[in-house]
């Protein structure tokens, strides 16, 4: 079963110089070789080894024939390149599915598209690059502009034409290169030193033969490690850091979310965590819807039950008469005013406040009590601020102490006065007077300076508008913008703890809650 070994077929591996001699037939013949039985296998194997040796010899013989590119310094320094063994590819050429042609395995390039797909200008560039270089050497030399026409052939002297043969500048390609292999094969006889099979491991043998083998050499295989924890896994979700460099990164407020949070703060509901989850939010939403519907139904049912006069008399406090159905009926029989007329008469007793309340909603609960209990900032989160005065700063109190404390307010407030005194930016009045006395300037000027200094130094010194002294109301009056707008008199009595005679730090110490400076709450009505 051993196929005859054609001398023309040489199997070469690992030799870059003679790689071109490898042909497709090599692989085919190899397969033929190895289809045989075990007994012939060994022989085939041996012969294939023989081919290997021959090939190597042949390649070494070829070194002399073919041009060998050597490094310049190879002989001087000894080649300092490390010998890296590259495993040859299992095939040297394959049938390319794209082009249908036989392609070399080493190209590693996608097939180049045809000329129709080239960008414009490429065709002319390619054509220019492919144009053959002119050959031939000239006998004349250039005159560099001195003798125009010097390199032309002067024909005037010769009358008869000379039939010159065309100079062919194309050199003959040496065809004698490929004739050597046959002779070499017959000349050399190779004695192999030792069979190579001893060196092959089980796995390599399997691989060589083509028997089923695992992908990885079991000797070279590394054990599978423990999988990483979720913290280590890089694609796992991690909580973002606490630091947020912009307020835009905070949680976006939603009506339900803010409501739930406020409710949780006041203790109405219990949240599992500090922020309501989607489940809780949706639960809340559903509940709210159902409760609303229930209330609406209840109200309607009540209206039907007790009649309109009795129903609407809730919002007419001044109507003290009996509003039951029987009374209405009786009244109708007495006076002939039907229900509607009686209703109208009842409504004439209604105040406008009551009217507004009545028209606000037609359910019993006029407003959501929770919304009233929400803090200002919570309200602002959902419904936004005043469109006219969108920030608190618009409502300006000239005596207001503006709080510039930031979100991470944990730094100790520096004692500004002491700091300024320390750095000499502020001096006390006594020192100032002493200095001035030393300088002995005019009395008039000193007074002026004194006035200015007095105004500048003492923060708390108040020359302008009067102070109210009622501290009781100061926390009470709400900072709700609408109320302030509608009730301008409230602005004045804002009730800041404006103890102008206190210094800053005393003022801070005085307030129980730092936010008192900003926001005051007021119960509705």
């Amino acid at each position: 079963m051993v196929s005859s070994i054609s001398p023309a077929w040489v199997l070469c591996q690992d030799n870059g110089i003679s790689r071109r001699i490898v042909s497709v037939d090599g692989s085919v013949a190899k397969r033929l070789h190895l289809q045989g039985s075990k007994t012939s296998f060994a022989r085939a194997f041996v012969t294939s080894i023989w081919q290997l040796k021959v090939g190597l010899h042949h390649s070494s013989g070829n070194v002399r024939l073919l041009p060998c590119i050597k490094c310049e310094n190879s002989n001087k320094e000894g080649s300092s390149f490390e010998q890296v063994s590259v495993e040859p590819p299992p095939y040297h050429s394959y049938l390319d599915s794209t082009s249908g042609q036989l392609e070399p395995a080493s190209g590693a390039r996608a097939s180049i598209p045809g000329q129709e797909f080239w960008p414009e200008g490429t065709a002319s560039r390619v054509r220019a690059a492919r144009a053959p270089e002119p050959m031939g050497a000239s006998t004349t030399s250039p005159s560099y502009g001195q003798n125009p026409g010097s390199r032309r052939k002067k024909y005037k002297a010769s009358v008869a034409s000379s039939e010159t043969s065309e100079t062919s500048g194309v050199p003959d390609i040496p065809d004698d290169v490929l004739e050597e292999p046959k002779e070499l094969l017959s000349e050399y006889v190779v004695y192999q030193s030792e069979p190579e099979e001893e060196n092959l491991s089980h796995y390599e043998m399997d691989k060589k033969i083509g028997r089923p083998h695992p992908f990885i050499d079991p000797k070279a295989k590394k054990p599978v490690e423990e999988p990483l924890t979720s913290e280590e896994l890089w694609w796992n979700w991690r909580k973002p850091e606490k630091e947020q460099w912009s307020r835009w990164q905070r949680r976006r407020p939603d009506v339900e979310t803010v409501f739930l949070k406020a409710m949780a703060e006041t203790g109405q509901i219990k949240l599992y965590g500090d922020h309501p989850t989607m489940t809780e939010t949706s639960l809340y939403r559903a509940r709210r819807h159902i409760y609303k519907e229930e209330r609406l139904k209840a109200e309607q049912e009540r209206l039907e039950r007790i009649g309109p006069l009795a129903y609407y008399s809730e919002w007419v406090k001044a109507w003290k008469r009996d509003t039951s159905r029987e009374a209405v009926q009786k009244h109708f029989e007495e006076t002939g005013e039907d229900e509607n007329t009686q209703l109208i008469e009842m409504f004439t007793h209604q105040t406008d406040r009551e009217y507004r309340i009545m028209m606000g909603t037609d359910v019993r609960i006029r407003r959501d009590p929770l919304a009233m209990r929400m803090r200002e900032d919570q309200i602002k989160e959902i419904w936004g601020g005043d469109p006219v005065y969108p920030t608190i700063n618009y409502i300006q109190d000239p005596d207001a102490v503006i709080d510039f404390r930031g979100p991470d307010f944990h730094e100790p407030t520096p004692d500004m006065l002491a700091y300024l005194k320390e750095h000499g930016k502020i001096i006390s009045r006594e020192e100032l007077e002493m200095k001035l006395a030393k300088e002995k300037t005019e009395e008039l000027e000193m007074t002026d300076m004194d006035e200015a200094m007095a105004q500048a130094v003492d923060i708390g010194e108040n020359d302008d508008e009067g102070e109210e002294s009622d501290d009781g109301e100061e926390e009470k009056i709400s900072r709700n913008w609408s109320i302030l707008k509608s009730n301008p008199e409230l602005r004045k009595s804002k009730g800041k703890p404006k103890n102008n005679n206190l210094s800053l730090e005393e003022a801070i110490d005085d307030s129980e809650n730092l936010t008192d400076f900003l926001m005051d709450f007021e119960e509705d009505e």
């Binding site: 004349t140 560099y144 125009p148 005037k156």
Partner: protein, 499 residues
């Protein structure tokens, strides 16, 4: 080579109108005297392809012309030497200096003959739907000047303060384009590392140039054309004056060394005149009419039925020489371009320094009232097309008849004719008119001091004549040939008038 070559050879040899430098081939072969009889049968209107005069029978056939084989001496075309093979290939450096600078020539080769350079095909080309590029020359190698102010030079080799720019600036924008180009050329010769310092060695020198600017007085007299002679004298005078004005003794050296003597300047003017290509180009967004001196494209000869044309590729700023679409080229065909159409021979002579016996735009002044019927004249010779573009329709003529060439077309244009719708010509009157015209032509011929034969003899006897002298003699020879051809054409017309 057959010495008893036919008229066709002789006629042929002048078909490749010798331009100043890229002069065509085969002059050396044709010394025979034409005979009227042979001429009538054998002149091939084959301006594009080579004249295979050596074989003396088979002629190279280009698609535009009718088959020309003379039946007796038919030889298979494979043995037939192409005109290209008669010539020597040009110096290999000629193409190499261009190749190094991105000039490319595809499928052609440059050959040199006694009459100068020529471009010949080195392989067959099938008739294609698209024009094929045979040469491309980048802008950097050319010398170009815009035809109008502001003067723009591509490539811009003139530095800012150079006095040559003032000289160029002083020229008349309409008229003095050749003087400008001559200045630019001379400057380029002086410019270090300019391509033209290398290419200039392949331009024809002053003794090879056939331009009449370099002609002596006796050469001008040999023209036997007073107007042309005086025009040339004027031109020469103009060039001389320009040189004297701008190269007087006090000019700085950098100008002076460009043209130390007036002859060099006049030579440069003749080169500029004869090798200038006027093209409308687009460079970037700028559309300009340019006068260009293009290195390799100026080696193309002229023909009235050209193979090729010039095309400006603006993408990479190359001048392309392209083969006409649908043109079949054989190996060894000469590549030719139509320099200028619509000019008479004297204008060709004046500008390019050559003339052609088959110029279809030549004009003969007839006086007298004799007229022939235009339509019948055209149908006799199977000339079709509008008057601006008469051509010989070879499909109509089925007998391989090669009489009709450019001269006959010129006759069709210049003979006094009448054409009145459907009015039929009366043959007797036509014949009479034709005879009258022939007599006029004979009178014209008689006015010349020499006949065509004598001219030919003179040419043959003087192989070493000056180029300008040769050109002058050829000019008058062509003129006489034209008139003789007109006479023959009228003969044929008389024979073939239909009843």
């Amino acid at each position: 080579m057959l010495k008893n070559s036919f008229l066709l050879c002789t006629g042929e040899c002048y078909l490749h109108v010798p331009v100043q430098q890229p002069i065509f081939i085969c002059k050396k072969r044709n010394r025979s005297i034409k005979s009227a009889a042979a001429a009538a049968a054998a002149v091939a209107y084959n301006a594009t392809s080579s004249s295979a005069a050596a074989a003396a029978s088979n002629l190279e056939i280009s698609s535009a012309s009718s088959p020309s084989s003379f039946p007796l001496f038919q030889t298979p075309s494979s043995l037939q030497p192409t005109p290209a093979s008669e010539l020597e290939p040009a110096d290999p450096d000629f193409y190499k200096i261009g190749y190094v600078r991105s000039v490319r020539a595809y499928g052609i080769e440059f050959r040199e003959g006694p009459d100068g350079f020529g471009v010949y095909a080195s392989k067959d080309v099938e008739p294609l739907r698209r024009a094929r590029v045979i040469m491309e020359i980048p802008l950097e190698l050319m010398l170009t000047i815009s035809q109008k102010t502001p003067w723009m030079f591509f490539p811009d080799i003139i530095p800012v303060g150079h006095p040559i720019f003032d000289i160029i600036n002083s020229t008349n924008p309409e008229i003095d384009w050749d003087l400008r180009l001559a200045c630019l050329l001379l400057y380029a010769f002086d410019c270090k590392d300019n391509f033209w310092t290398l290419y200039g060695d392949f331009l024809p020198s002053a003794d090879e140039c056939t331009s009449l600017l370099l002609a002596t007085e006796e050469d001008l007299l040999e023209l036997q054309d007073h107007n042309l002679a005086s025009t040339m004298r004027e031109h020469r005078q103009r060039a001389l004056e320009f040189w004297e004005k701008n190269w007087h003794s006090a000019v700085p050296l950098k100008i002076k060394r460009l043209a130390r003597d007036p002859e060099r300047f006049i030579w440069a003017v003749s080169i500029a005149q004869s090798r200038c290509i006027n093209m409308q180009t687009r460079i970037g967004a700028l559309v300009q009419d340019l006068n260009m001196l293009v290195p390799y494209a100026d080696m193309l000869n002229h023909s009235f039925q050209p193979n090729c044309f010039f095309h400006w590729r603006f993408k990479d700023r190359m001048l392309e020489v392209m083969i006409n679409a649908g043109q079949r080229i054989r190996r060894g065909d000469e590549m030719t371009v139509n320099y200028m159409s619509g000019w008479k021979n004297n204008l060709f002579m004046q500008r390019y320094g050559f003339s052609s016996p088959v110029n279809p735009w030549d004009v003969i002044q007839f006086s007298g009232g004799a007229r022939i019927h235009l339509d019948s004249f055209l149908s006799v010779f199977n000339i079709s097309g509008l008057p601006e573009e008469y051509y010989h329709n070879s499909r109509l003529s089925n007998n391989g008849y090669n009489f009709v060439d450019g001269a006959v077309l010129a006759a069709a244009r210049t003979l006094p004719t009448w054409s009145d719708g459907d009015v039929p010509p009366i043959p007797s009157i036509e014949r009479k008119a034709a005879k009258e015209l022939q007599e006029e032509c004979q009178l014209m011929l008689a006015e010349y001091p020499t006949t065509a034969k004598e001219d030919q003899q003179i040419l043959d006897s003087m192989p070493e004549a000056r180029r300008t002298l040769e050109a002058a003699i050829k000019y008058r020879l062509h003129r006489k040939l034209l008139i003789e051809k007109v006479i023959q054409a009228l003969d044929v017309y008389q024979e073939q008038i239909l009843f």
